[in-house]
Structure formats: structure tokens, C-alpha cells
């Protein structure tokens, strides 16, 4: 059965060292033989490449930054909706989710269907509440602490925080710091970009594994795709990975989803120490940038999300296919001043004219 609707997707940024997931989500939908609809790319910067990529997005629009407030977001989406008649909205960035979740009923009134958790569930998986959640789900996690003052680093070693450790933003970004000065610099940079609190996390050595799936909102995990990072960027993002089937990771993720009755896409990030023990690093409330691997293993999760959002039957998932490798690469797209001007001056760009 073909699905011929209009889907809006955020996260069209694609800097090679840390791409947003939006383009990968759009690619998954576009490559589904059952999807024949339109895709609207939503970005936050005139140089987000997804806005110009005709093969994935039929049109692109700029949204106001989350810091602009709820009214600015609603105004912008209302204008876009008048023109595009969007049926389903898939947010793909951590920083925008709190406001979008808060505005779900307004989005519904506008005709934008979503498949997202409520505010309480969203906050339960927050990076600042990891210890609590991990304990609830019976998985280890490196000790994490929220801090709001750089003064903490002056005598952090006396408080049990010996260098090196990790300084992390509430939504994004992380630095491994080895000295007090580096910690303070990282704290200030991350706080300026992502706000307070800033998190510090004990540094664990091991191999990184990720799982992406969809929570159905009733405690069930749907269509898990697991991968081991084979190569990472300087920011620690996956540059290459291989699909795996690890029952320990699967069951731990299943417990986490059950513990918070998660609704919507998510990514579980864990590290496996040298004794084979998993430690929870983060739970991200959206698809990861490597989600195209879900197409590679025959479990197109973005398309599954679309079906769930529309209230269609949950599809049959193929057996987990292991040994499928992705290797990310960067390439340029060519656009022109007319299209760039359209984005800058009108916050909109039509790719299907």
C-alpha cells in the first residue's frame, strides 16, 4: 500500500564530523518503495545542505532557533503549513524536542501528526537523569553529575573527579578534558552553546555500541537495529559501523524503553568495557544520523515510524541482519545564489518547481 502524504523532517544540517539525522531520515523514506509522498526539509541555517538536496527534499524551510520561543516556532510552522499541508512531522534534533513536545496539541490542531513522548517521559531520559534511569532499568552507567559553576573544577579532584573525564552539554557536545584549564574552557564553551546545567561524566574505556528503535508508548521496543562503531570522527560520531545482534544490548534497551514507556524513536548509546559489561552513556530521543543502516538491514525505521504515526498496523520486521557495514562520506552539492537568496530572504526554498 503506497503512502502518499507530506512529511516534514528537521535536522537538515550535515557537517561531516557531526551530521544531523534529518537527511538520513529523509533518505530512508525516499528509498521506501511504499512512500510516494513529498518531503519537506526543515533547517536552522541557510547552509544546511538538506534544504537544497532535490533527491531527498521537495522543499526546504528555515525554522527559528528553539531559543526564540514557542510563539516564533508556531508562527513559522503555521506559515509553512498553509503552503505545504504537512501530514506528519518528524523532529530529529535533541534541542528542539522540549518545545515541540510541549506544543504537541497545537501541532495537532495545525494538522501535524507526531509520534512522540510526553514531557514527563522526555525528561526521564534526559542526560542529567541517567543515573536514576539506568538504576531503574538495571544497567550500569558511568557516574554523571550536573554542574552550573566552573569553580567546581578548581578542586574537583578532591571531590572524587580525577582527570581525565568528560564534559557534556545537556543536548549535544562532549569533550574529554585532562586538565583544570581544559575543563573550564570546555564548560564555558558548552554552556554558551547549550545552556545549563553542564554535565560531567566519568570516562570509561571500551568499545561503543548503539541501538536505535521505536518505543510504541506501551512499553514495547519495535524494530531494534544495533551497530558497533568501527571508526569515529574527532567528535566521537560514527564514521563507519557494522550491524550486530547482541542480546545483552537488546535486553538492556528493551528494559529502558519499558521503564519509561517510551513513545517514538530513540537511540541508546552504550560502552562495553574490557570485561564485556555494558554502561549506558546516553539515550537520545530521536533517530541517529546513522539510521540509514536500518534500510541496510531491512528494517526501515523512519518508514515504520510513519506507519505508526498514521495508525497503520505495525509491520513485520525481518530477522536482524548482522555484518552490514556503513561507511559515511562527505560530498558537495551545487546550488545557486537564487536558491540561497530564497532561503535567506524568505526562509523557503522550492526544489520541486
Amino acid at each position: 500500500m503506497s503512502i502518499n502524504i507530506t512529511v516534514a523532517i528537521t535536522g537538515m544540517n550535515a557537517k561531516p564530523d557531526n551530521p544531523g539525522p534529518g537527511l538520513a531520515v529523509a533518505r530512508c523514506l525516499r528509498e521506501s518503495p511504499e512512500f510516494t509522498g513529498r518531503i519537506i526539509g526543515l533547517g536552522y541555517d541557510g547552509l544546511d545542505p538538506g534544504l537544497y538536496l532535490k533527491e531527498y527534499c521537495d522543499a526546504g524551510y528555515i525554522l527559528p532557533y528553539p531559543s526564540s520561543g514557542d510563539d516564533a516556532l508556531i508562527d513559522s510552522l503555521t506559515r509553512i503549513q498553509k503552503k505545504e499541508k504537512i501530514d506528519v512531522f518528524i523532529p530529529c534534533l535533541d534541542a528542539e524536542l522540549p518545545s515541540i513536545v510541549r506544543l504537541i496539541s497545537v501541532l495537532n490542531d495545525l494538522g501535524l501528526k507526531t509520534f512522540l513522548p510526553d514531557q514527563k517521559k522526555l525528561s526521564l531520559r534526559g542526560k542529567d537523569r541517567l543515573n536514576e534511569l539506568a538504576q531503574h532499568a538495571g544497567i550500569k552507567t558511568p557516574e554523571t553529575k550536573s554542574i552550573t559553576n566552573a569553580g567546581f573544577f578548581h578542586n574537583c579532584e578532591e571531590k572524587g573527579w580525577a582527570f581525565p573525564f568528560v564534559v557534556k552539554g545537556l543536548f549535544y557536545d562532549a569533550d574529554i578534558v585532562h586538565t583544570k584549564d581544559a575543563a573550564i574552557e570546555s564548560f564555558r564553551r558548552i554552556a554558551a552553546e547549550w545552556g545549563f546545567p553542564v554535565l560531567i561524566q566519568k570516562l570509561l574505556k571500551g568499545e561503543e555500541y548503539n541501538l536505535s528503535a521505536i518505543g510504541d508508548g506501551e512499553g514495547n521496543m519495535l524494530g531494534a537495529v544495533m551497530m558497533k562503531k568501527m571508526a569515529t570522527t574527532d567528535k566521537g560520531k560514527a564514521w563507519a559501523g557494522v550491524s550486530i545482534n547482541d542480546q545483552t544490548l537488546y535486553k538492556a534497551s528493551e528494559s529502558l524503553i519499558k521503564a519509561i514507556n517510551w513513545r517514538g524513536p530513540l537511540e541508546v548509546e552504550v560502552i562495553r568495557d574490557h570485561n564485556g559489561v555494558y554502561h549506558l552513556l546516553e539515550i537520545n530521543p530521536r533517530f541517529p544520523a546513522w539510521i540509514y543502516l536500518s534500510v541496510g538491514v531491512g528494517r526501515n525505521l523512519p518508514f515504520t515510524l510513519l506507519q505508526l504515526t498514521l495508525g497503520n498496523a505495525i509491520p513485520h520486521f525481518e530477522e536482524i541482519k548482522t555484518g552490514v557495514i556503513f561507511i559515511r562520506y562527505a560530498q558537495e552539492t551545487i546550488t545557486n545564489m537564487h536558491d540561497f537568496e530564497s532561503i535567506i530572504m524568505r526562509n523557503a526554498q522550492m526544489n520541486d518547481n
Partner: protein
Amino acid sequence: MTTSSDTLDITTSPFPPLSNLQQLAISESGFIFDPSSGHNFTVNETALTMLRLLQKDNELGPLMKKLKEKYEVSQQELERDVLEFAGLLRDYVGE
């Protein structure tokens, strides 16, 4: 390790659990992929033979017997190589 056959404990398998070994994807070329951990590694022809045997039975005794039939090698040398391989396998595949 140069334990002689008189002292070698063949009642406890030094190899990873059978379930771990049986899930390994083994290629003729000697390329091995562990679908659970995502690790890959390569082995030579002799190790490939051992792995294929271990996928059927991960006990030390039967493996030693079959290898002794197949290769002309002293008991001491065989024990040393097999135990070294077992250690490597535990590192790659888990215990």
C-alpha cells in the same frame, strides 16, 4: 604455556562457550566475524581448522585428538599452540 599432557587439565574447556563459537561467521579465506560483538579478525589455515572443529565441540580433549591425527606435531608443541589460540579466542570472542 608448556604444560605436558600429564598435567594438562582437559576437563575444563579453555575455549569460549560453544554458543559464542557457533555464531561466528567463518569465511574460507580465514576472515572471521562475530555478529554479537561486531569484532572481526583473521586466522591462518591451521586456526581455521581448529575453529571449524570447535564449532562442533569446544572441549580440549577431542580437539587435541583430532589435531594429532591431522598434523605431525609433538604433544608439547600442540598443547602450547592450542592453549595460546584458546587465549586469543577468549579475547576476541569472549568467555
